[in-house]
C-alpha cells in the first residue's frame, strides 16, 4: 500500500462535492471536495506499490493546462487500471459541475 500526493494549478473552487466508485477489486473510490482557489490537490491511497509514475502521467494528461476547478481529491484505489481511474474521475467531475 502506498500514499501519493499531487498538485496542479486550477481555477475557482468547485461548487459542490461528489463521491463515486467503491474500494472493490479493480475499482476505486473518488471523493471530490471544493478546495482553495487556484489549486487542485490529489491524495492517492493505492494497494499497488511502485505506481507513482503511472498516476502522475494520468493526472498530467487530464489536468495539466486544462484549468480544472479547485478541488481536494481523495482516491482510495484497489488496483484499478488507468482506464477505470480516468472514467471514475470524469464521472466525479461531471457530478461536481452539475449544479
Amino acid at each position: 500500500m502506498e500514499t501519493l500526493s499531487f498538485e496542479f494549478p486550477a481555477g475557482q473552487p468547485a461548487r459542490q462535492r461528489a463521491q463515486v466508485g467503491c474500494v472493490g477489486s479493480g475499482d476505486l473510490e473518488v471523493l471530490l471536495e471544493p478546495g482553495p482557489a487556484g489549486r487542485l490537490n490529489i491524495q492517492v491511497v493505492t494497494s499497488v506499490n511502485g505506481s507513482a509514475e503511472r498516476w502522475r502521467h494520468l493526472f498530467e494528461r487530464m489536468f495539466a493546462g486544462a484549468n480544472p476547478p479547485a478541488l481536494n481529491v481523495d482516491i482510495h484505489d484497489f488496483g484499478a487500471t488507468p482506464g477505470v481511474v480516468r472514467l471514475r474521475l470524469e464521472q466525479a467531475l461531471e457530478e461536481v459541475s452539475n449544479v
Binding site: M1, R17, Q19, C22, G24, L31, H76
Partner: protein
C-alpha cells in the same frame, strides 16, 4: 414475466451499489445520509494491515421516509472487502437501529430496512467486528418490539456468518433468487466437511441448498421477490402496511428444534429432503 415491455423496463436491484440501493428505496427527496463518506469515519485497523480503507467503511446509513413512514435504511456494500462487517460499519448499523428504537419511545414510529450483502465479520478486525455484530443483533431485537425491522438479501454476495443470525432476527426477511443465506459460506463448509460432501464450485448445488428460493420454500424467509427495484420497493411497502401478528421466527425455536431433531444426517442432504423436513411432513 412474459410481458416483454416489463422485462425491458425492469431495473435490477442486485446490480446497484449500496448507496444507489438506499436511494432507490427511500421516498424521493427524503434521503439524509448519516456519517456519509465525507465524515471519513473509516476503519482504523485496515491501513495498519496494508489494506486500503473505504471512506464509509462499506456501510451506508440513511434516514428518510418509506411510503411516508419514518424509516432508517442501512446497506452493506458487498464489493468492499466482501461486505465484511468491522467495528465502524457494525457500529453505524447498530447506532442507527438504537436511534430508531429511541424514536419509537419518543412517539416517532421509525421502522428499519437492512440491505444485507455480507460474508459476516471482517476477520482483520476480529473480536471488535464480532462485538459490533452482537450489538446489531441486540438492536434488531430491541427495535422489532416497536416497528418492523425488514432484512433484504438481494445478492450476489448473500448473507453469512454472524450477519445471517442478524438476518434471522429481523421481523421480516425478503430474498431474491440471487440471494444465499447460511451460517457458513460454501468454501468454509467444503474445507470442514470435504469436497465429497459439499463442492463449493458446484453452483446449482449451492443455490439448491442455500439459495433464496430454497430458503423461502423452507419457511426460513417471508418473501421471495424478483430482482427488480419496483418489486422489492412495493413488497417492503406492503409489509409495512400489514406487518402481521406472527411470532418472530427466533421465538419459534421450539418448533425448529423439533424439526431439526428429526433430521437424519447420514444420507447426503438434497434440496427436496431439506424442504420436506422444514415443511414438517417427513418423519
Amino acid at each position: 414475466m412474459s410481458d416483454l415491455n416489463a422485462l425491458l423496463h425492469s431495473r435490477s436491484f442486485v446490480e446497484l451499489g449500496a448507496r444507489q440501493r438506499v436511494a432507490a428505496l427511500l421516498d424521493r427527496g427524503s434521503l439524509r445520509e448519516l456519517l456519509d463518506p465525507f465524515a471519513r469515519i473509516k476503519s482504523p485497523w485496515l491501513e495498519a494491515q496494508g489494506i486500503v480503507a473505504q471512506a464509509d467503511d462499506g456501510v451506508v446509513v440513511a434516514k428518510g421516509t418509506l411510503g411516508g413512514r419514518p424509516a432508517v435504511v442501512a446497506a452493506i456494500e458487498g464489493n468492499f472487502q466482501g461486505g465484511s462487517l468491522g467495528e465502524v460499519g457494525g457500529a453505524k448499523i447498530a447506532g442507527a437501529l438504537e436511534l430508531a428504537a429511541e424514536d419509537n419511545r419518543n412517539g416517532i414510529p421509525t421502522c428499519a430496512v437492512l440491505l444485507l450483502e455480507t460474508g459476516g465479520v471482517r476477520l482483520q478486525e476480529a473480536n471488535l467486528g464480532l462485538a459490533a455484530i452482537a450489538e446489531v443483533q441486540a438492536a434488531i431485537v430491541e427495535l422489532r418490539q416497536y416497528q418492523p425491522v425488514i432484512g433484504v438479501v438481494a445478492g450476489p454476495v448473500g448473507c453469512f456468518g454472524g450477519m445471517s443470525i442478524a438476518a434471522a432476527l429481523c421481523s421480516h426477511l425478503l430474498v431474491t433468487r440471487e440471494a444465499r443465506l447460511g451460517l457458513n459460506g460454501p468454501q468454509v463448509i467444503e474445507q470442514e466437511a470435504g469436497l465429497d460432501e459439499y463442492d463449493s464450485r458446484d453452483r446449482p448445488f449451492i443455490w439448491s441448498l442455500t439459495g433464496g428460493e430454497q430458503r423461502f420454500a423452507c419457511g426460513l424467509v417471508d418473501a421471495y421477490v424478483a430482482d427488480d427495484v419496483v418489486a422489492i420497493h412495493d413488497r417492503l411497502l406492503a409489509i409495512l402496511e400489514q406487518p402481521g401478528e406472527a411470532l418472530p421466527r427466533s421465538r419459534q425455536y421450539a418448533r425448529f428444534l423439533d424439526l431439526l431433531g428429526r433430521y437424519d444426517a447420514v444420507p447426503q442432504a438434497d434440496a427436496a429432503a431439506v424442504r420436506a423436513l422444514y415443511q414438517g411432513d417427513q418423519a
